[in-house]
């Protein structure tokens, strides 16, 4: 932490310095990059097995912050209890670890809200920054009789048990929440829904293509590779506004008149007792990365849409999100 210098400089100044540093680096001079935040052995903890969404979130920090931190971030894995192990560890033993950030998603927030993560809450950790966002989507197979979200909703209103809805998570997971929000909007209750809990997105897509389920409440990001293949149709996205290509022609549920919105926020938190200095270094590094085109490119490569919040802005957003999640979870009977 000795060289904690320019990360606190004014934004414009640090940007110029950073450009200089980048240029020096590109020229192969390898001069010490003055604008980089100094973090000793930075680490991003993906609280899952390699290969999943948390891995992806950490890879964004690793590549995206490379120009903005003095050392490259190491990605480590801490599977166990759907992220609960990491959350508890950073609330008990590693509360003051200045070098480590931990990946989270809206799914983790939901688990905090429903008490699956134990006694600790969103107040006990420090929210650093986001990696980007993904959105819920209503997906049917190419040969489905459902032509629009309206068809699905009408059928659900008529008889909630007539449509088999499936997704990659158990009851109470965020995949289930998306289905529960749809059925609520159609006038039914989550308890009356025919929901099939599959094992992850890959399994859910297989079940959809094989005809075991009628509707899949998945994510926009995982649909990108399937959009050209013509095997599935996205009837609506659960975003607030229309998305860019390849989803430009897909309506949002809101514009079709259904108040269903599901944003999956992906980002990072730190232990509650980290030094302000380290916390600010991380936050500034993310803010600096958000300014670059490379970061935007990285997000789109990883199938995420831009949602760039860091520091206080993010803490506020997480608190708002938690209040909303608690409300929905209570309504759905997940919190007694």
């Amino acid at each position: 932490m000795l060289f904690q210098t320019t990360s606190h400089a004014s934004g414009a100044m640090s940007r110029i310095l950073r450009l200089g540093a980048a240029a020096a680096f590109a020229a192969g001079l390898g001069a010490p990059a003055m604008a980089q935040g100094e973090i000793d052995k930075p680490e991003c903890v993906a609280p899952a097995q390699p290969g999943g969404g948390f891995d992806l979130t950490c890879r964004i920090a690793q590549s995206g912050l490379e120009p903005h931190l003095s050392e490259t971030i190491q990605v480590t894995f801490m599977p166990g209890g759907i992220g609960a192990v990491a959350f508890n560890l950073f609330n008990t033993t590693r509360t003051d670890d200045d070098s480590a950030i931990v990946a989270y998603s809206t799914g983790s927030l939901l688990n905090i809200a429903t008490g699956k993560y134990g006694q600790f809450s969103e107040e006990d950790v420090r929210w650093v920054a986001t990696a980007g966002a993904d959105f819920g989507a209503v997906i049917v197979p190419a040969d489905s009789p459902f032509e629009s979200l309206e068809d699905v909703m009408n059928k659900l209103t008529e008889d909630p048990a007539s449509v088999v809805v499936g997704a990659g998570g158990s009851i109470g997971s965020q995949d289930w929440m998306k289905a529960a929000l749809l059925i609520r909007e159609a006038g039914g209750t989550p308890q009356g829904m025919r929901y099939v809990a599959l094992d992850g997105g890959g399994d859910a897509i297989a079940a959809l293509m094989g005809g075991s389920i009628d509707v899949y409440t998945g994510d926009v990001g995982e649909m990108v590779p399937h959009m050209d293949a013509g095997t599935m149709r996205v009837l609506a996205t659960m975003s607030n506004e229309r998305l860019d290509e390849p989803f430009a022609d897909v309506p949002t549920a809101k514009e079709l008149g259904y108040d269903v919105e599901w944003t999956i926020m992906r980002g990072f938190y730190m232990g509650g007792d980290v030094s302000d200095e380290a916390y600010n270094t991380w936050v500034d590094a993310f803010k600096a990365a958000y300014e670059t085109e490379e970061f935007a490119k990285l997000q789109s490569e990883k199938g995420l849409l831009p949602l760039n919040l860091a520091g206080d802005e993010l803490t506020q957003a997480v608190n708002d999100n938690m209040a909303k999640l608690r409300e929905i979870a209570t309504e759905a009977g997940l919190i007694q």
Binding site: Q49, P50, G51, D55, L56, R59, V75, T76, F77, M78, P79, G80, G81, I82, A84, V85, F87, N88, K116, Y117, G118, A161, V164, S170, I171, G172, S173, W176, R194, Y195, V196, A197, L198, D199, G200, G202, D203, I205, A206, A207, M209, G210, G211, S212, I213, V224, P225, H226, D228, A229, T231, E301, G303
Partner: protein, 510 residues
């Protein structure tokens, strides 16, 4: 057919490029090592090396070829510690211990290693050929496997494994029950309710399969070794120069052919992989061996060839839905899918037309990789077999170190080390009481799949049990389940009727 040949031509041009050829060899070699280490399996090998391959700036085709080499290599390597140490190197190699380890104790380690390398090669190559010819068609069929069909598949698996009921059926059933109970720990996949977690967050996601096998097999084996050492009952083995004989191959040829198809097909199904494939293959072959079935588990070459053929065939099969539909069939293929996306390659029906050099290059590299693995593995047999002559007081701590490092590398959670040790003590007690550990593992693997799919099927039907019999695929599997139980009984009766006229081996096999 023409498109396949042209495609393969394109593919071999890519795979035989000297640089790519070197990558296949390197991947196969490191994969074998990773597979041989207890606790480290293909999923970790691919996950650890993926970022390295990416950062080295390889062409997409080259990086994928390297990863596929590691994936295949790890499936080959898993058998080594199964045979030599009675510790499965990865999930697909559990069944290999059953006959591989007894062979090694009988001074036949070299024979077991070379035979299993050859059956792995045949299984792997069969899978690539079937994939080349029928890939897209099979994948489309495989996704129509509904949860109800998986239930029927599990019933078939249980029926074929009923043959494992050995000298003491009660203990076998109890073992399977313990496995089923271990599988229920964690958040219930359907309702999201935690079961048997006792408020410990580490248990929420359930117990990892690797931890169960390293604990129950690896650590239990270790405790047994220490115990024998202390009581001075440990006999050292002479140097073992045995090698596979033509007679072994002749004896297991139909086993290898059957298990190639069986393993490939189970691998193609998105919900099942190498561990289920090898278990079903072993059970079915034991049943089909009829009167000779009791030799399985004592070092029978067929009992070794069956799971090794099937797990390599399944590894190839799992690539099919990933490449042709973009659906990963296993954890490892999920990571390879991630790698494809990282290079902006979108797997699916269009991959073969839009980027033929990548799709076909990968397939051609599997042919090359299998040959490379056979060539790497056969000369090393003698070297590996010599490991058994290492004095036990060096070997025992080595197994312990490998098991702990393996577990800690993947997960980085000290809790798992305690869990592995606890399961090891438990496994040691079970062995003292003459329980076989294989039924525990099978109960664990099949039980979870059986429960989840049954509950999914019933969610789909709204609680109507008839869904289990609605599809021809389910019904076919139930018929096969009955046959796999009935045929051996019939064969034995016929053998008894023709007393004095011994049933030839070929008859019993066919």
């Amino acid at each position: 057919m023409d498109t396949i040949l042209t495609g393969l031509g394109t593919g071999f041009a890519v795979a035989l490029d000297p640089f790519n050829l070197m990558l296949v060899l390197a991947g196969a070699f490191f994969g074998t090592l990773i597979g041989a280490l207890p606790g480290l399996g293909p999923i970790n090998g691919v996950a650890i090396l993926l970022p390295i391959a990416y950062s080295m700036g390889f062409e997409p085709a080259s990086a994928l070829i390297l990863l596929a080499g590691i994936y295949y290599g790890a499936e080959y390597g898993g058998r080594i510690s199964s045979i030599l140490l009675n510790v499965p190197g990865d999930a697909g190699a559990v069944m290999t211990t059953l006959d591989g380890y007894p062979m090694a104790r009988n001074g036949q380690a070299g024979r077991a290693l070379s035979l299993s390398a050859i059956s792995s090669f045949i299984g792997g190559t069969f899978a690539v050929i079937l994939m080349t010819l029928f890939g897209p068609m099979l994948a489309t069929f495989a996704v129509t496997f509904s949860p109800a069909d998986y239930v029927a598949l599990m019933v078939f698996a249980f029926a074929s494994l009923a043959s494992l009921v050995g000298k003491n059926p009660t203990k076998t059933l109890l073992g399977a029950l313990i496995g089923l109970m271990l599988a229920t720990i964690g958040i219930d996949a359907n309702t999201g309710v935690p079961r048997y977690t006792f408020g410990i967050p580490d248990f929420l996601a359930g117990i990892d399969f690797l931890i169960v096998i390293v604990g129950l097999f690896g650590m239990a084996e270790l405790f047994t070794l220490v115990e024998k050492q202390v009581s001075g009952k440990l006999d050292s083995l002479p140097v073992d120069n045995s090698f596979v004989k033509m007679a072994d191959l002749a004896k297991s040829k139909w086993t290898i052919v059957r298990c190639s198809f069986l393993g490939f097909f189970i691998g193609v199904l998105p919900g099942t992989g190498a561990s289920v494939a090898s278990a079903v293959a072993y059970g079915t072959e034991k049943r089909l061996a009829g009167a000779e079935g009791h030799l399985f588990g004592t070092g029978d070459v067929r009992g070794l060839a069956a799971p090794e053929t099937a797990n390599n065939a399944a590894a190839g099969g799992a690539m099919v839905p990933m490449l042709t539909l973009g659906i990963p069939g296993s954890g490892t293929t999920a990571i390879i899918l991630g790698a494809l996306l990282m290079f902006n390659i979108q797997p699916g029906p269009l991959l073969f037309t839009q980027q033929p050099e990548i799709a076909w290059g990968l397939i051609a590299s599997m042919y090359v990789g299998n040959v490379a693995l056979l060539l790497i593995n056969l000369p090393l047999v003698g070297l590996f077999a010599r490991m058994l002559t290492i004095p036990q007081h060096y070997l025992t701590p080595m197994i312990a170190i490998l098991a702990f490092v393996g577990i800690y590398t993947i997960v980085g959670n000290p809790f798992d080390l305690l869990l592995v040790t606890g399961l090891g003590v438990f496994g040691w007690f079970l062995r003292k009481m003459e329980f076989s550990l294989a039924p525990v593992i099978l109960g664990f693997v099949l039980g979870g799949l059986f429960e989840n799919n049954l509950r999914r099927a019933l969610s789909i039907s709204g609680g109507d049990w008839m869904i289990l019999l609605e599809d021809y695929k389910s019904v076919t599997l139930y018929v096969l389940a009955v046959l796999v139980v009935a045929i051996p009984v019939y064969l034995q009766r016929r053998a008894r009727r023709m007393e004095g006229d011994p049933v030839s081996r070929e008859d019993a096999n066919d």
